[in-house]
Symmetry: C2
Subunit: 339 residues, 2 copies
């Protein structure tokens, strides 16, 4: 038999109201006598009382739950972000519901419905598609939203992202500094702003070094397949690049597969760098030189931003851009070329 507030009230001869006040720590506020207060506390402990959170939630119109929408939990980068959100939210007494959009707009809409009907207090999303209007709408009308990783030009939503521009710029310059001139980049979704910024960084590096007419830009999606196909195409072109810059870990996986298929060795036959950091990159042979993003920090900050908005109900939009770091390994070869 489950113990409820009412039962404790009966047993102590007090009202449900009083019991509720004591049990939710408002004894002080209502100046409830020590004696009464103790009676309640003792009985509650004795029968191992556990409040029915559902009822509390219904009453309070808050669920102490936040929702996270990511494109793929199997992508370690997003798993890291989700994990950081979970832990941060946990510390603040909130539970996290993670849903997976699989990079699909339809699916993303379903994810949103799920979270809204669960009445989450807020949403953290790495959106897919090429705009965030649906999230803006939700943010205006019902539930605060914070974007993470991906964002859009002119969005009114707060977001936390990496400095994609400078990360791409630095790693491209690293290639150039090692003598590379024919540097191909394989991009992800051209609509996504992180992609645009990365592309911007790449272009800027090329331009600074008077290589703007040597740009090689291919690809259109953050997928293994895209990396694979574009690499195949690059290898068959008559001026094969000396270095490939993969715009994401998934793209990189495709690149490496294609190189392996063609029997090319990294870095002797071709140099390779990538965006995104994770442990398996160090266990490839050679370990891959890459632009690391602070996934953990992004998750934490996005969560803090969200709680700020939930708590203060402020509509203030803060945007954070985290630094990236070059993680230098062994996939880049110094070459002497006048090509």
């Amino acid at each position: 038999m489950k113990t409820t507030l009412g039962i404790i009230a009966q047993r102590t001869g007090l009202s449900k109201a009083t019991v509720s006040r004591v049990l939710s720590g408002k004894a002080e506020k209502y100046r409830i006598s020590k004696e009464t207060s103790n009676k309640v506390l003792i009985e509650a402990r004795r029968c191992n009382y556990n409040p029915e959170s559902i009822a509390q939630l219904l009453r309070n119109n808050r669920t102490n739950t936040i929702g996270v929408i990511i494109p793929a939990i199997s992508n370690p980068y997003f798993a890291d972000i989700a994990n950081a959100v979970m832990e941060t939210a946990n510390k603040m007494g909130h539970t996290t519901i993670i849903v997976n959009s699989s990079e699909d707009i339809e699916q993303q809409n379903k994810c949103i419905s799920t979270l809204l009907s669960r009445k989450v207090d807020g949403i953290i999303a790495a959106p897919c598609g090429n705009n965030a209007s649906i999230f803006e709408q939700i943010n205006e009308s019902t539930t605060p939203v914070v974007l993470v990783d991906r964002y859009f030009d002119g969005t009114t939503l707060p977001y936390v992202t990496s400095n994609n521009y400078s990360g791409a710029l630095e790693i491209t310059e690293l290639l150039i500094g090692n003598g590379h001139k024919r540097i191909a980049c394989i991009q992800g979704d051209p609509e996504s702003l992180p992609n645009k910024r990365r592309l911007g960084g790449y272009k800027q590096a090329m331009k600074k070094n008077n290589l703007e007419d040597r740009e090689i830009i291919v690809g259109n999606s953050f997928s293994i397949q895209n990396g694979y196909l574009e690499t195949k195409l690059l290898l068959s072109s008559n001026e094969r690049p000396t270095a490939i810059f993969a715009f994401s870990f998934t793209i990189l996986l495709g690149v490496l597969k294609a190189l392996q298929d063609s029997g090319l060795k990294v870095p002797d036959d071709i140099s390779v760098v990538s965006f995104d950091d994770n442990i398996s990159l160090d266990n490839m042979t050679p370990a891959i030189t890459r632009v690391g993003q602070l996934a953990n920090e992004m998750g934490i900050l996005a969560t803090k931003l969200l709680f700020e908005r939930i708590e203060t109900n402020s509509k203030q939009t803060k945007n954070l851009e985290l630094k990236t770091e070059i993680i230098s390994r062994f996939s880049v070869k110094r070459i002497n070329s006048e090509l």
Copy 2:
């Protein structure tokens, strides 16, 4: 202004009960007239009605939510399982809450509390620690539990796991078939049953080939660090093994790191195989030969088992053991040795 059942009732001139029946798909059952039914449906669509699930839950004493406890979301193996659970539950109209025990009993207890206070309808757990008594207790008293991946001798809980024994046996025989005799295995948590079974498979293979006095068994945890340290130790022993069998992906990562540190090449200097499958294993150089587990299928089956129990309220305990498969790559070298 939020639309509720009551408002629709008012606007259509019907009772809340009728509206509720139509909206929860029970029109047929109560023989509600097409006309009435349509009136409700139209109004509901018009004003974009969304049921307040909290209220439903309070009333029904069901949350349509299941909880998943895994030791680490950042481990791709568990991410795959969690993902499969999520998708399966989704199809059955349930939401999933994933929580992370970080291989820590204390943390696991907190996870359990979270899920129970959320009144999840059921729990799927890859437990840590060396017994499942807390889960058994929960399973008896309040909430059905299904174990996945990890289980324990004599447990009353249903579980879904891999055939760890035959997987380990086969891959050890593969090594032996390639001429290896000094085969070290680096195990994970010795208390965990999957680990015991893997060890059993390894031993059986050694025995079948008259190598039982050549067994080399080290290690004690499913961690990168364990893999690293034990490999270091193995390399410094006077009879260095010709092959290493890592009992998990995490252990493997440590092994490879240590080999790299020591400048040893796989497979020329030493052969390496591992339990667990994931994409990055194909992108290591060389790609790693391994025992693949059907993570996806395990997640799906565990979820189905759980729903069976939730729906029928049966206490019947089913245990499933899925086959494993050898994924043969390039990390094993054939050697001729009379060592």
